[in-house]
Amino acid sequence: MTDKLLEGTECPRCPADTVTRLATSPVPGAWDVLQCTRCLYTWRTSEPARRTRRDAYPEAFKLTESDIENAIEVPAVPPLRV
């Protein structure tokens, strides 16, 4: 699918406006699968509001830019052997 950003669409989780379409329903018009390019949250437009709308998204799962930047690596990248 295209990497083109969808204008006016906000990520329910982080809440960047850098959202792209990953997939669209084989039955035309049923749903799209969208993804936030910053936090990688992925959702289907037909899901309940608690998964698709910023104002209904659970507080416990919201992410901030610093959450993403400061996330630890698991497993840590090992030192290069020279």
Partner: protein, 475 residues
Amino acid sequence: MPYDDLRSFLGTLEKEGQLLRITEEVLPEPDLAAAANATGRIGENAPALYFDNVKGFTDARIALNVHGSWANHALALGLPKHTPVKEQVEEFARRWDAFPVAPERRADAPWRENTQEGADVDLFSVLPLFRLNDGDGGFYLDKAAVVSRDPEDPDDFGKQNVGTYRIEVIGANRLAFQPVPMHDVAQHLRKAEEVGEDLPIAITLGNDPVMAIVAGMPMAYDQSEYEMAGALRGAPAPIATAPLTGFDVPWGSEVVIEGVIESRKRQIEGPFGEFTGHYSGGRRMPVIRVDRVSYRTNPVFESLYLGMPWTECDYLVGPNTCVPLLKQLRAEFPEVQAVNAMYTHGLMVIISTKKRYGGFAKAVGMRAMTTPHGLGYVAQVIVVDEDVDPFNLPQVMWAMSAKVNPKDDVVVIPNLSVLELAPAAQPAGITSKMIIDATTPVAPDVRGNFSTPAKDLSETAAWATRLQNMIAARH
């Protein structure tokens, strides 16, 4: 009769009344996950679920809860569906002794029928992907058998690993991947990343039911899951050569995804509702680039729901966690009768044992904590007498209520290792561990008033059979 693929097993489940087809249209979310979640709330012999009418899809076939009851687990092992849990575990342990059984290589794998390569790879066009839990970061592949090789020893068949890991779909040809540090694939990845190389990987979906069991089983680094599958099946496991990586993959898979874990790269992943009944995530994890997808015509997408236990995951990894612990304990302590390690992959275990002398039961409990699996699990051990069935929880509760003097029989050891996902650990990866000795003290441990136990009457077993026959004859 062993099953060579998922489809033949689904056929048996249907014939045995253990597969339910949902033909009315459902929503991909939240219906698929909610239905699979509900199988764990309707009693012990819930069926597998099969969906083929999912809103927005024209060609979806989704199997859920395939291993999600004791009846289905018994059928997966080729046992009668009413086989009691304890007997399933004993039969599993008996078959284990046939390990290793060499696999059988076949040429005509059905997943060779269709291929996507390079820029044409689009996982969304092959798999009807969907979300499981509200807080999940995306759509997951959570029941795959993932194959990787030791980059320093790529021709060693035993070191080739087959395991189940959580995999998040983050693009048409991209996946995020969680190798838990104590798992074999994490060792493969570390060796590749130390020299700056990508790690080739093959992800197989929709496998025969024994393949799913061995992929989730705690085995030694150089033991082959295929050779264990052969032992459990009672026949060689059919394998085939994956076209891109050359890895050995199950012959009967519905879908084979090949690619590489990109060296030294990490991206945000999760969260994902885990088998502990809690989410984990918000960490940066390795990513996979998919270069080739091979799949059967009309592939069946197999997935499992996991969350607050019990779910399919608990049935899938219950017996396969009991048996390695039983084998390792018995190797040194033949007095051990049975091990029930079915709670949260063995975070808590119940062991029945004879007592060699006073204090012996506590030693058995400590040994369970120091087995290879115990280093990451076994935070609580309940030890019961040899005549208490550790799979019969009312009996276990009786032993705890009648045999335990808490001051002397509860032992807590601080600051031991546990997997990082364990929610009660503090800090992550460190926990205290506890032994509850619910056995009857024996000399020289002379505590308590246990000299006159009331045992079942010697005629009771015969009467039990007589009553069961009379009840059966009424129908």
